[in-house]
Symmetry: C2
Subunit: 136 residues, 2 copies
Amino acid sequence: MSLTPAASAATDREEGSEFAPRFSADGLLTCVTVDARSGEVLMVAHMNAEALDKTLWSGIMHYWSRSRQSLWRKGDTSGQIQRLEELRVDCDQDALLARVSVGGDGGACHTGRRSCFYRRVENTADGPRLEPVAKM
Amino acid sequence: MSLTPAASAATDREEGSEFAPRFSADGLLTCVTVDARSGEVLMVAHMNAEALDKTLWSGIMHYWSRSRQSLWRKGDTSGQIQRLEELRVDCDQDALLARVSVGGDGGACHTGRRSCFYRRVENTADGPRLEPVAKM
Protein backbone atom coordinates (compact mmCIF):
# COMPACT_ATOMS: atom_id res chain seq x y z
CA MET A 1 0.00 0.00 0.00
CA SER A 2 1.39 3.38 -0.91
CA LEU A 3 0.62 6.21 1.46
CA THR A 4 -0.47 9.68 0.45
CA PRO A 5 2.12 12.37 1.30
CA ALA A 6 -0.06 13.53 4.22
CA ALA A 7 -0.41 10.00 5.60
CA SER A 8 3.31 9.42 5.15
CA ALA A 9 4.14 12.62 7.06
CA ALA A 10 1.81 11.59 9.88
CA THR A 11 3.44 8.14 10.04
CA ASP A 12 6.90 9.71 10.14
CA ARG A 13 5.81 12.00 12.95
CA GLU A 14 4.43 9.08 14.95
CA GLU A 15 7.02 6.41 14.24
CA GLY A 16 10.17 8.24 13.19
CA SER A 17 13.14 9.49 15.17
CA GLU A 18 12.85 13.13 14.10
CA PHE A 19 11.84 15.46 16.91
CA ALA A 20 9.35 17.77 15.18
CA PRO A 21 7.24 19.35 17.93
CA ARG A 22 3.87 20.69 16.81
CA PHE A 23 3.43 24.03 18.51
CA SER A 24 -0.11 25.38 18.74
CA ALA A 25 -1.23 28.50 16.87
CA ASP A 26 0.01 30.56 19.83
CA GLY A 27 3.39 28.83 19.74
CA LEU A 28 3.01 26.53 22.73
CA LEU A 29 3.31 22.87 23.68
CA THR A 30 1.55 21.36 26.69
CA CYS A 31 3.99 19.87 29.21
CA VAL A 32 2.95 17.38 31.90
CA THR A 33 5.56 17.27 34.65
CA VAL A 34 5.84 14.20 36.86
CA ASP A 35 8.09 13.22 39.74
CA ALA A 36 10.72 10.89 38.25
CA ARG A 37 10.78 8.65 41.32
CA SER A 38 7.10 8.32 42.23
CA GLY A 39 5.54 9.05 38.85
CA GLU A 40 3.12 11.46 40.54
CA VAL A 41 1.76 14.17 38.25
CA LEU A 42 3.01 17.45 39.71
CA MET A 43 1.76 20.10 37.29
CA VAL A 44 0.70 20.98 33.77
CA ALA A 45 2.35 23.97 32.11
CA HIS A 46 3.34 25.23 28.67
CA MET A 47 6.56 25.67 26.74
CA ASN A 48 7.34 27.85 23.77
CA ALA A 49 10.29 27.07 21.53
CA GLU A 50 12.71 29.05 23.71
CA ALA A 51 11.58 27.33 26.92
CA LEU A 52 11.96 23.93 25.26
CA ASP A 53 15.41 24.78 23.94
CA LYS A 54 16.64 26.11 27.28
CA THR A 55 15.21 23.06 29.07
CA LEU A 56 16.94 20.62 26.74
CA TRP A 57 20.32 22.28 26.91
CA SER A 58 20.40 23.25 30.60
CA GLY A 59 18.62 20.21 32.03
CA ILE A 60 16.53 22.61 34.15
CA MET A 61 12.82 22.99 33.45
CA HIS A 62 11.81 26.25 31.77
CA TYR A 63 8.21 27.12 30.93
CA TRP A 64 6.27 29.89 29.25
CA SER A 65 3.92 31.68 31.61
CA ARG A 66 0.73 32.47 29.75
CA SER A 67 -0.53 34.76 32.53
CA ARG A 68 2.71 36.74 32.75
CA GLN A 69 3.62 36.28 29.07
CA SER A 70 7.22 35.58 29.97
CA LEU A 71 9.82 32.83 30.09
CA TRP A 72 9.91 31.23 33.51
CA ARG A 73 12.68 29.08 34.95
CA LYS A 74 10.79 27.07 37.54
CA GLY A 75 12.29 27.58 41.01
CA ASP A 76 14.00 30.91 40.43
CA THR A 77 11.92 32.50 43.18
CA SER A 78 10.60 29.44 45.05
CA GLY A 79 13.75 27.31 45.06
CA GLN A 80 11.64 24.47 43.61
CA ILE A 81 14.07 23.86 40.75
CA GLN A 82 13.11 20.92 38.54
CA ARG A 83 15.98 18.89 37.10
CA LEU A 84 15.03 17.10 33.91
CA GLU A 85 15.60 13.36 34.12
CA GLU A 86 13.80 12.40 30.92
CA LEU A 87 11.65 14.21 28.35
CA ARG A 88 9.09 12.24 26.36
CA VAL A 89 6.89 13.34 23.49
CA ASP A 90 3.50 11.97 22.51
CA CYS A 91 2.41 10.31 19.28
CA ASP A 92 1.49 13.46 17.37
CA GLN A 93 4.22 15.54 19.04
CA ASP A 94 2.04 18.26 20.53
CA ALA A 95 2.51 17.29 24.18
CA LEU A 96 5.54 16.61 26.37
CA LEU A 97 5.98 14.48 29.46
CA ALA A 98 8.86 15.64 31.67
CA ARG A 99 10.18 13.34 34.39
CA VAL A 100 11.93 15.56 36.94
CA SER A 101 13.58 15.57 40.33
CA VAL A 102 12.45 18.49 42.42
CA GLY A 103 14.74 20.72 44.50
CA GLY A 104 13.95 23.02 47.40
CA ASP A 105 11.20 21.71 49.64
CA GLY A 106 10.16 19.15 47.03
CA GLY A 107 7.00 21.02 46.10
CA ALA A 108 5.83 22.00 42.65
CA CYS A 109 2.72 24.08 43.37
CA HIS A 110 2.84 27.76 44.25
CA THR A 111 0.33 27.03 47.04
CA GLY A 112 3.06 25.08 48.82
CA ARG A 113 1.74 21.63 47.97
CA ARG A 114 3.76 18.94 46.29
CA SER A 115 1.35 18.64 43.36
CA CYS A 116 -1.06 21.14 41.83
CA PHE A 117 -3.71 18.38 41.69
CA TYR A 118 -4.76 18.44 45.36
CA ARG A 119 -8.55 18.45 44.86
CA ARG A 120 -10.92 15.96 43.30
CA VAL A 121 -14.26 16.65 41.66
CA GLU A 122 -17.22 14.97 43.36
CA ASN A 123 -20.72 14.74 41.93
CA THR A 124 -23.34 15.95 44.40
CA ALA A 125 -27.05 16.68 44.19
CA ASP A 126 -26.09 20.35 43.82
CA GLY A 127 -23.63 19.65 40.99
CA PRO A 128 -19.91 18.98 41.03
CA ARG A 129 -17.97 20.14 44.11
CA LEU A 130 -14.30 19.91 45.10
CA GLU A 131 -12.91 17.81 47.93
CA PRO A 132 -9.31 17.63 49.13
CA VAL A 133 -7.31 14.63 47.97
CA ALA A 134 -5.90 12.71 50.91
CA LYS A 135 -2.14 12.81 51.56
CA MET A 136 -1.31 16.09 49.81
CA MET B 1 -4.74 41.68 55.87
CA SER B 2 -7.71 42.32 53.60
CA LEU B 3 -7.48 40.95 50.11
CA THR B 4 -8.40 42.84 46.98
CA PRO B 5 -11.42 41.35 45.17
CA ALA B 6 -9.12 39.86 42.51
CA ALA B 7 -6.84 38.27 45.11
CA SER B 8 -9.84 37.00 47.02
CA ALA B 9 -11.31 35.39 43.88
CA ALA B 10 -7.96 33.72 43.14
CA THR B 11 -7.78 32.37 46.69
CA ASP B 12 -11.33 31.02 46.45
CA ARG B 13 -10.47 29.32 43.17
CA GLU B 14 -7.38 27.70 44.67
CA GLU B 15 -8.63 26.83 48.15
CA GLY B 16 -12.41 26.67 47.89
CA SER B 17 -14.78 23.80 47.17
CA GLU B 18 -16.44 25.43 44.17
CA PHE B 19 -15.68 23.69 40.90
CA ALA B 20 -15.16 26.64 38.54
CA PRO B 21 -13.16 25.34 35.57
CA ARG B 22 -11.29 27.99 33.59
CA PHE B 23 -11.82 27.16 29.95
CA SER B 24 -9.36 28.67 27.48
CA ALA B 25 -10.38 31.27 24.91
CA ASP B 26 -11.32 28.41 22.59
CA GLY B 27 -13.44 26.79 25.28
CA LEU B 28 -11.12 23.95 26.28
CA LEU B 29 -9.48 22.44 29.35
CA THR B 30 -6.35 20.30 29.17
CA CYS B 31 -6.88 16.79 30.53
CA VAL B 32 -4.04 14.48 31.57
CA THR B 33 -5.26 10.90 31.69
CA VAL B 34 -3.40 8.36 33.83
CA ASP B 35 -3.90 4.68 34.56
CA ALA B 36 -5.60 4.53 37.97
CA ARG B 37 -3.65 1.44 39.04
CA SER B 38 -0.13 2.17 37.81
CA GLY B 39 -0.27 5.97 37.69
CA GLU B 40 1.27 5.85 34.21
CA VAL B 41 0.48 8.88 32.05
CA LEU B 42 -1.50 7.52 29.11
CA MET B 43 -2.42 10.59 27.07
CA VAL B 44 -3.08 14.32 27.03
CA ALA B 45 -6.31 15.53 25.44
CA HIS B 46 -8.85 18.33 25.71
CA MET B 47 -12.37 18.73 26.99
CA ASN B 48 -14.97 21.35 26.23
CA ALA B 49 -17.86 21.95 28.62
CA GLU B 50 -20.00 19.26 26.99
CA ALA B 51 -17.24 16.63 27.16
CA LEU B 52 -16.64 17.46 30.82
CA ASP B 53 -20.34 17.26 31.62
CA LYS B 54 -20.82 13.95 29.82
CA THR B 55 -17.70 12.53 31.51
CA LEU B 56 -18.88 13.51 34.97
CA TRP B 57 -22.38 12.12 34.59
CA SER B 58 -21.61 8.95 32.62
CA GLY B 59 -18.31 8.01 34.26
CA ILE B 60 -16.90 7.37 30.78
CA MET B 61 -14.21 9.66 29.41
CA HIS B 62 -15.34 12.06 26.69
CA TYR B 63 -12.98 14.49 24.97
CA TRP B 64 -13.11 17.22 22.37
CA SER B 65 -11.13 16.39 19.26
CA ARG B 66 -9.42 19.56 18.06
CA SER B 67 -8.43 17.97 14.75
CA ARG B 68 -11.93 16.65 13.99
CA GLN B 69 -13.72 19.48 15.84
CA SER B 70 -16.13 17.01 17.40
CA LEU B 71 -17.07 15.38 20.67
CA TRP B 72 -15.31 12.08 21.10
CA ARG B 73 -16.21 9.28 23.48
CA LYS B 74 -12.90 7.49 23.81
CA GLY B 75 -13.20 3.85 22.80
CA ASP B 76 -16.27 4.09 20.59
CA THR B 77 -14.30 2.78 17.63
CA SER B 78 -11.24 1.24 19.34
CA GLY B 79 -12.95 -0.44 22.29
CA GLN B 80 -10.45 1.35 24.55
CA ILE B 81 -13.19 2.75 26.79
CA GLN B 82 -11.84 4.69 29.78
CA ARG B 83 -13.86 4.44 32.99
CA LEU B 84 -13.35 7.42 35.24
CA GLU B 85 -12.14 6.45 38.70
CA GLU B 86 -11.30 9.94 39.94
CA LEU B 87 -11.14 13.41 38.41
CA ARG B 88 -8.81 16.00 39.91
CA VAL B 89 -8.41 19.68 39.07
CA ASP B 90 -5.31 21.80 39.46
CA CYS B 91 -4.77 24.91 41.57
CA ASP B 92 -6.02 27.47 39.05
CA GLN B 93 -8.64 25.09 37.60
CA ASP B 94 -7.47 25.13 34.00
CA ALA B 95 -6.22 21.53 33.88
CA LEU B 96 -7.72 18.18 34.83
CA LEU B 97 -6.13 14.91 35.91
CA ALA B 98 -8.30 11.88 35.17
CA ARG B 99 -7.50 8.55 36.81
CA VAL B 100 -9.07 5.85 34.64
CA SER B 101 -9.32 2.12 34.15
CA VAL B 102 -8.94 1.17 30.51
CA GLY B 103 -11.11 -1.33 28.66
CA GLY B 104 -10.48 -3.22 25.43
CA ASP B 105 -6.85 -4.23 24.98
CA GLY B 106 -5.74 -1.83 27.72
CA GLY B 107 -4.23 0.64 25.30
CA ALA B 108 -4.84 4.36 25.09
CA CYS B 109 -2.90 5.36 21.97
CA HIS B 110 -4.29 5.07 18.47
CA THR B 111 -0.93 3.55 17.42
CA GLY B 112 -1.79 0.50 19.53
CA ARG B 113 0.53 1.32 22.39
CA ARG B 114 -0.56 1.56 26.02
CA SER B 115 0.59 5.17 26.36
CA CYS B 116 1.03 7.95 23.80
CA PHE B 117 4.39 8.80 25.39
CA TYR B 118 6.47 6.01 23.87
CA ARG B 119 9.48 8.07 22.75
CA ARG B 120 12.01 10.12 24.65
CA VAL B 121 13.97 13.13 23.42
CA GLU B 122 17.75 12.65 23.39
CA ASN B 123 20.28 15.41 22.85
CA THR B 124 22.77 14.52 20.14
CA ALA B 125 25.50 16.41 18.30
CA ASP B 126 22.97 16.86 15.48
CA GLY B 127 20.29 18.21 17.80
CA PRO B 128 17.47 16.46 19.63
CA ARG B 129 16.38 13.06 18.30
CA LEU B 130 13.75 10.57 19.43
CA GLU B 131 14.44 7.13 20.88
CA PRO B 132 11.91 4.48 21.89
CA VAL B 133 11.13 4.22 25.58
CA ALA B 134 11.78 0.71 26.86
CA LYS B 135 8.83 -1.50 27.84
CA MET B 136 6.09 0.16 25.76
